[in-house]
């Protein structure tokens, strides 16, 4: 019974914690511009993160090794270092976007500019990492994120023409006035947002931090197979909500407040409040994950002590990396770069870098030296290799599409 409630709690945490600023921006924007004709890219992306997070979780539980530890061992010192530069840069970019996202959510409540909220926001993120227990931290923000269910309730209350709406998802067409490259660019962005690399850095390091063993595989799999797809449904609900409200009026989404508007229309002030709390929880949780991931990647490459299981003074370099990354993200944020643009770049660059993260996971998940009899099954490998092809295609297409469409303009 206790185990069952643990699994349920894990699923809810994974569901609420799935969405981050990249998902919010990408889904709200594409809903308004393309209705549900890009929903397939979200479904594909969620499938990809499910397949690869399951492997990363299994590797963590069996070999007690997080992803970046293995990157260096498998790719070698030189390739691993190049990978580290790319992964760290993208994680930092994502952190900038998440921290700005928290501040934007606070701006929506208070009408005080997000620029003023940035320093306080960063301090809070750092304090939580510095003093809160890993599991408590993950639970708190994951469960708080569940209020985003209000978006799905809002979609239902808006009482859309369901046949028409679902038709745009099941028979995807490039809408009139949009070019094929733009359509594909946003498909890659949605795919990248669902599979952002920090998610597996964090998931696998978290498994090691929570001392997963073979017995915890059930929990890991429940999180991944049930929690992540449910979280993906929240992303799709957001896409549907902007598709219903903005698409018919030809309005494009360029600010976080617009992503909350459909739910406010449907559910009034309560709906607005819930969505803002949900945005806050989603971005705050993701800021914690990305800040920690910045520390995880570098420490795991160099073999330094990392993690929250030991006193901070016993993982000095790790904690300074986390602190430095948070500080850097505030400084960049304070230059008043457009947070939405930073988010878009972070997810498209994530898409371009996907193979760097996912290929080593696939190699190790098939290695009996690390995994014993817990290597990938034949069927698992069919999915994993299928996705590897997709990941490589998305990664090769990301930058040319970005240039050709001038970032989706």
């Amino acid at each position: 019974m206790k185990k069952l409630s643990g699994i349920a709690l894990g699923i809810l945490t994974a569901m609420g914690g799935f969405v981050d600023i990249g998902d919010i921006v990408a889904n709200a924007e594409t809903g308004a511009r393309f209705r549900l004709s890009l929903a397939w890219a979200v479904v594909l992306g969620v499938g990809g993160i499910v397949v690869y997070a399951e492997m990363a979780g299994r590797v963590a539980a069996i070999s007690h090794r997080p992803v970046f530890d293995l990157v260096r061992e498998r790719l070698g010192a030189r390739m691993g270092l190049a990978n580290l530069f790319a992964s760290f840069f993208i994680t930092l970019l994502t952190l900038i976007a998440e921290v700005a996202g928290i501040a934007l959510a606070l701006e929506l409540v208070t009408d005080v500019s997000y620029l003023l909220w940035l320093p306080l926001t960063a301090l809070l993120v750092w304090l939580v990492i510095w003093r809160m227990r890993f599991e408590a931290m993950e639970r708190l923000f994951g469960l708080m994120g569940l209020v985003l269910i209000a978006i799905a309730v809002g979609v239902w209350r808006l009482d859309p023409d369901w046949g028409n709406l679902l038709g745009s998802a099941t028979r995807p067409l490039v809408p009139a006035g949009e070019g094929h490259p733009t359509y594909l660019y946003y498909a890659v962005a949605l795919f990248g947002a669902a599979m952002t690399p920090y998610e597996v850095f964090f998931f696998s390091s978290g498994g090691v931090e929570e001392r997963w063993t073979r017995r915890d595989l059930a929990i890991s799999r429940a999180n991944v197979f049930v929690g992540f797809p449910l979280g993906g449904l929240l992303s799709l609900a957001l896409m549907a909500s902007t598709a219903i409200v903005f698409a018919p009026r030809g309005i494009q989404v360029s600010h976080l407040s617009q992503a909350a508007l459909p739910t406010a229309l449907a559910l009034g002030k309560v709906g607005l409040a819930l969505v803002i709390v949900g945005f806050f929880a989603a971005t705050f949780g993701a800021a914690l994950e990305t800040a920690l991931s910045a520390g995880y990647t570098v420490s795991q490459y160099f073999g330094w002590q990392w993690g929250k299981l030991v006193a901070p003074r016993d993982a000095s370099r790790f904690h300074l990396l986390v602190l430095g990354s948070i500080a850097a993200s505030v400084l960049v944020g304070l230059t008043a770069v457009d947070p939405i643009k930073v988010t878009e770049y972070s997810i498209v660059l994530s898409a371009a870098a996907l193979p760097l993260t996912y290929f080593p996971i696939l190699v190790v998940a098939n290695d009996r030296d690390y995994m014993g009899d817990a290597v990938n099954s034949k069927l698992g490998n069919v999915f994993a290799f299928g996705y590897l092809v997709l990941i490589v295609v998305a990664s090769l297409a990301a930058l040319p599409l970005m240039i050709a469409t001038r970032a989706g303009a």
Partner: protein
Amino acid sequence: MAGRMLLAGFALLDRQIVDRDGRMAGKVDDLELAEPDGGGAPYVTGLVSGRGALARRIGGRLGRAAAWLSARLEASGEQPGPIPFGVVRELGNHIEITLTREDLDSFELERRLRDGVVAKIPGARHAPE
């Protein structure tokens, strides 16, 4: 451990070193080899970790720049010695040694950052509860 045949590049290089308290103590960045007097296959006498060893191994312009940086950050006067192979307790996923990480030359930077910065921040002494 004497006389065991291993693919050193595979089973040793780039592996995580864990000290006797279970703390992470760097990676195997390079190996020290010796040749037997009577000729024959060289054998591993020590593990080199930190202190610019990785930068020297990677080489090139980037490696030289990193080696210079690491020398500036970690200089302590004497040339760092490798970890003698005799202190290796177990070779597996990790490489366990019988020393603590504080005994290693590669701990210098961590020690300085700990004593100079991190330990001074309130709450640094205990893991979060």
